[in-house]
Every structure is written in structure tokens, then in C-alpha cells.
Point group: C2
Chain length 231, copies 2
């Protein structure tokens, strides 16, 4: 008799990192339930890629929640502010860029925690990364540890001693090159991902925002061709 797979909630943005995380979690034997968000972001194409990837991976549960992050504002990703282009890695890491969305990962993890509790899942996967993190404060390991503590106090786990929640960030200390290599090893179709902060009407990447530059550098270092279209 086959043993039932443990459930995990995987935060899936439609980007390169979370597509890799999904393949890693599946490879570890989890039944993955994917959680995506529509939050007024410019890159709607991300969600389309997330859906295509979920279909290709044969995932049964994919929940897309609508969030009002645009009502809160404070980020170039949810407003009309210009996305910075052509910056060096040093410039990216010098300060928190305007593409930072205040509270985003905390809000995403809060929903993942809530859904995990309802599903009876003890594991949440998130594709954050500290190497190429572009200076976002909510991508750091100490943030993730603090959130895991919150999750285990906020839910039934904290009171009734049920399944404790673990927050997994398997990409945390990987370079973009290593992430891409791992993804190819696990058969990820990176044509079904999107990274650009400022795509054109056809969903083609700009090639010069922080996210495109990190992605292109990663593919180059891994000696692979990026299958997505550029403008």
C-alpha cells in the first residue's frame, strides 16, 4: 500500500525561484498545494505562467487569492513609479529598491500559514533568496525564523500541540546560477516562468530591470539559454 504523501503549501509567484522550489518540494515527496496572489502587480503575466507551470506539474490544488496591496501602495510594483533599469549588483544591494513591496512576504506567509492550517499541512515553502535578494528586508533568514515562531504561536499548533509548521526556504543561500542548475536537474520548464518587473504588452521581459539582470546573469553563469522572450 502506498503511503500518503505529506501536504505542503508552496508559494508560487510564477517566477524562476518559486518554480524551482515547487520542483524541489515535489522531489522531496510532498503533495504540493500551490498558493499564488493577484495583488495589483504590473507583471500579470507572472500569474499566467504560474498556472501553466501548475498544469504541467500535475498539481491538483492551486489557490489564487486577490490581495489589495495596491490600495496600500509604497512600491513601484503596485503603482506607476518607474522601475530602475541597468543597475549593477552593488547598486542593487546599496539600499532597499522601490520595487520592494512593504509587507509582501509577511502577508504571503500569513496566508500560507492559514491555508496550511486548514489543509492540515505542516510545511510551507517559499522561494526567497539572500544572495540575490536585491536588498529586500523580508528575504533574510532571521525574518523567516521569526515568522516560523509567529506561525507556531498563531495557530492551533501553538495551543493544542498539533503539527508544528515549518517554513522552508531551500534557495536561501543559493546563487541564481545554482538555482537554475538545480531546476534543470529537476526538469523545470523555465519557459513557464517570468521574472521581469516591467514587461511589455505581450509579456516579454525588458532585460534591464534588477530582476531581468539577475536572471540573465544566472543563465549565463549556468551556461544555459533562457527560454523566455525578451523585448
Amino acid at each position: 500500500m502506498m503511503q500518503k504523501k505529506p501536504k505542503a503549501v508552496v508559494l508560487l509567484s510564477g517566477g524562476l525561484d518559486s518554480a524551482t522550489v515547487l520542483a524541489m518540494a515535489m522531489g522531496e515527496g510532498y503533495e504540493c498545494c500551490c498558493l499564488s496572489f493577484a495583488y495589483g502587480q504590473r507583471q500579470q503575466v507572472e500569474l499566467e505562467r504560474a498556472k501553466a507551470n501548475v498544469a504541467r506539474q500535475g498539481i491538483e490544488k492551486h489557490l489564487i487569492l486577490r490581495l489589495d496591496l495596491d490600495a496600500i501602495g509604497g512600491s513601484a510594483l503596485t503603482t506607476d513609479a518607474a522601475v530602475p533599469k541597468g543597475r549593477s549588483q552593488t547598486e542593487m544591494n546599496a539600499s532597499i529598491p522601490i520595487t520592494y513591496v512593504p509587507g509582501r512576504n509577511t502577508i504571503f506567509l500569513s496566508y500560507a500559514m492559514a491555508w496550511a492550517e486548514v489543509l492540515g499541512a505542516g510545511d510551507v515553502f517559499i522561494g526567497v533568496n539572500v544572495m540575490d535578494y536585491s536588498g529586500y528586508p523580508d528575504c533574510r533568514p532571521e525574518f523567516l525564523e521569526a515568522f516560523e515562531r509567529v506561525a507556531n504561536l498563531a495557530t492551533r499548533a501553538g495551543v493544542e500541540g498539533e503539527t508544528r509548521l515549518r517554513v522552508h526556504a531551500p534557495l536561501l543561500k543559493m546563487t541564481k546560477k545554482e538555482i537554475i542548475e538545480k531546476g534543470f536537474e529537476l526538469g523545470v520548464d523555465y519557459g513557464l516562468t517570468h521574472s521581469c518587473y516591467d514587461p511589455d504588452g505581450q509579456g516579454r521581459a525588458c532585460g534591464s530591470c534588477d530582476s531581468c539582470l539577475l536572471r540573465l546573469k544566472g543563465f549565463a553563469e549556468a551556461g544555459r539559454v533562457d527560454p523566455v522572450e525578451y523585448q
Copy 2:
């Protein structure tokens, strides 16, 4: 010259507790920015009362965010499950009731934290209460402390050493009686609040769910008449 008031984000549900917290925060000299949520809850009347209270208090900023908590499920407040009636305090505290909404306070605080960062506010007020908390894990002081730590790691405060965020829960150790007495002292109009988990079509309270029972007991102990209508 008048000194500029410091800003605070106040989570305002439309209930008795958060209406009291708002009056307390105003009394402490904060410019209060109120944050409410429409989350598929049965008690839509709560939001109407929140709006009426905000208008009466002369608050300039009131943000109402639509949340997809009903898509996550797991609670009688967001599904069609029956709300328990006529329970004793002992029964209420014996286990986590089905009116518990998984992740709710964590999600609410995450949005409050995000909005505070955008507004430049260093203070968030939440009306949670450990005395009459009906067994919700995310109303406990250790949860709030853990969340405050998350907030200071997740935001600009954590990286650039800007304003640290403080989470205030001034009702934490007050009884319902004490909360109501404090509210009368500060001129709260409790007619503009709503507590019932299961109101009728006219928004009248049922008088027998956990929340009504706690409210009625509080008014009785404070020797006051509850101005809201009961069925």
C-alpha cells in the same frame, strides 16, 4: 505652534473592543489611521458600524481592504457552519471554537505593518484580549511579541534602522467590564459597534453566541445598558 501628532494604524473591526482601542489611541494623542477588512464574514454589519464610528470620531484615513479569507475557509465565520450558542465561559475556553478564523490576526497585523511602513507610522493598535479571548491562539501576548519581532525584521525598520514598529494591545489584560467602563469614560458610542457572530437580516444581534454572551455580561457587570438592538 502645534506639534504634529504621531501617526498610528488602528485595526478597526466594528466591534466593541476595537472601537474602545481607537478612542484610547486618540486619547494618547495619535493621529489614527483606521484599517478594516471585508473578508467574507457573515457579520457585514460590522463594517457599516466601523464606518459610522470613523465618521463620528472625525478620522481622515479609513482603509477597507477586501480579503479572500473565505477562499481559505476553516471557520464558521467565513463558511456556512453553525455558530455555537448558549455556551458557558468554561465551554468557550475548553477548546478553540469553530468561529476561530485561521491566520486572521496574523494577516490583519501583516497588513497593518505594511500600511504603517507606507504611512511612516511607528505604532499599530489591535483590540485583542486574553481574558475573554474565547480560546483563539492568536490573541495571546506571546503571539503579539513574536509578531512585533517579525515586523521589525520584515520592514525598512529592520534594515535601515528607521522607526521601529510597536504593536499595542491595550485591552490585553482587561475584562469586558473594564473595557466598557473605559469606553464610556472616553465617550465611545457603543451603538456604533457590533459583536454578534450571527446577526439577522436587519443586523440585530442574536444574544446567544459566544460574542453576544461576553458582551452582555460585560455591560451587565459595568452596570450599563447595551445600546445595540437584539432579536
